[in-house]
Chain length 159, copies 2
DNA sequence: CTCGCAACTGTTATGAAATAACATCACAAC
DNA sequence: GTTGTGATGTTATTTCATAACAGTTGCGAG
């Protein structure tokens, strides 16, 4: 759970062009569903997209203002709630942290491979999720949402 | 996530004989591994075993003393950490709550079916986990531990 | 036995994460 | 324009968890 190495992190952060495009895409998607991508929501999504890995809520709060001024907690938590609902962001339960969605993002299930060494967190297709959901259904349980989070070592840190 | 119905809960709590036996079993298992089942650990495990469902840490804290006196947080958190390490208890990340292990408990992976209606939480074998771990391994990631938590509706609440 | 270490517990204090409650604002529908 | 809904701003509080250090206990080595 704690970082124990000096390996480089994700390198997944978006910047410049790619960032703007991702934000605009998200805005378009929201509009298509009658949802509003307002300023604080866009700002929080931007912070998540720029980040190399999972971001703590209070880091979003303190990084919120472009001038370094912090936001109030509800501002950020409400934005996160919205982004999660739109499938634009995910909460990593086992880290109390948040990431921008890096996959298709259309209501899909998510799964994460978290490196306990360097902190890199990769979003992957949830292989085996159908088997799990099916097994649950066979026992009468209806899966509405599924949290899958692996802790372990990424390829670089295993090296 | 919030309880919305008045369906009965798990009914999984242990009492009397069964409780004592479960506690003694746990103590035996600890002894066999050179671990000590001390008083606070046993007490926390007891509270978890008695409970019908997931228990919040601060409920354990306030229920700790038989006389109704509360424990200090570190007492309970340390006990929980120990119990988790021994596979005697699990943390439900998506609820910030804890449950006694209801399965074999020998270092196994765990998965949970959480009913968002009545709160019942069932520990199940993680069907599909091997597929997931295998897929991760194929991409160079080594899974050390796997958190699988489903939210949805149990059979009773779907009715 | 007794010394010394390692593990465990007790205690105080603080830090981190999230939400409640209520006031105000923006904007589209009518 | 007015009205209603959804979004934001703001203050305060609650909930969850750990840091840091002091004291105790059990146990094996000598």
């Amino acid at each position: 759970m704690s970082l124990r190495c000096d390996h480089s992190s994700d390198g997944a952060g978006l910047h410049g062009h790619a960032l703007t495009r991702a934000l605009d895409d998200a805005e378009t998607r929201c509009g298509a569903e009658g949802q509003r991508m307002t300023a604080p929501r866009r700002r929080v999504l931007q912070l998540l997209l720029e980040a190399d890995g999972p971001v703590k809520a209070y880091d979003l709060i303190s990084g919120f203002g472009a001038d370094g001024e912090a936001a109030k907690p509800p501002t950020v938590y409400r934005a996160l709630e919205f982004l999660e609902k739109q499938g634009l962001a995910h909460r990593i339960e086992s880290l109390n942290a948040y990431v921008a969605c890096r996959l298709g993002a259309d209501g899909h299930a998510a799964a994460f491979l978290i490196c306990d060494c360097c902190g890199a967190t990769r979003e992957v297709e949830p292989a085996g999720a159908d088997a799990f959901t099916g097994a649950a259904a066979a026992s009468g349980y209806e899966v509405r949402s599924l949290t899958i989070e692996a802790h372990g070592l990424c390829a670089a840190c295993r090296g």
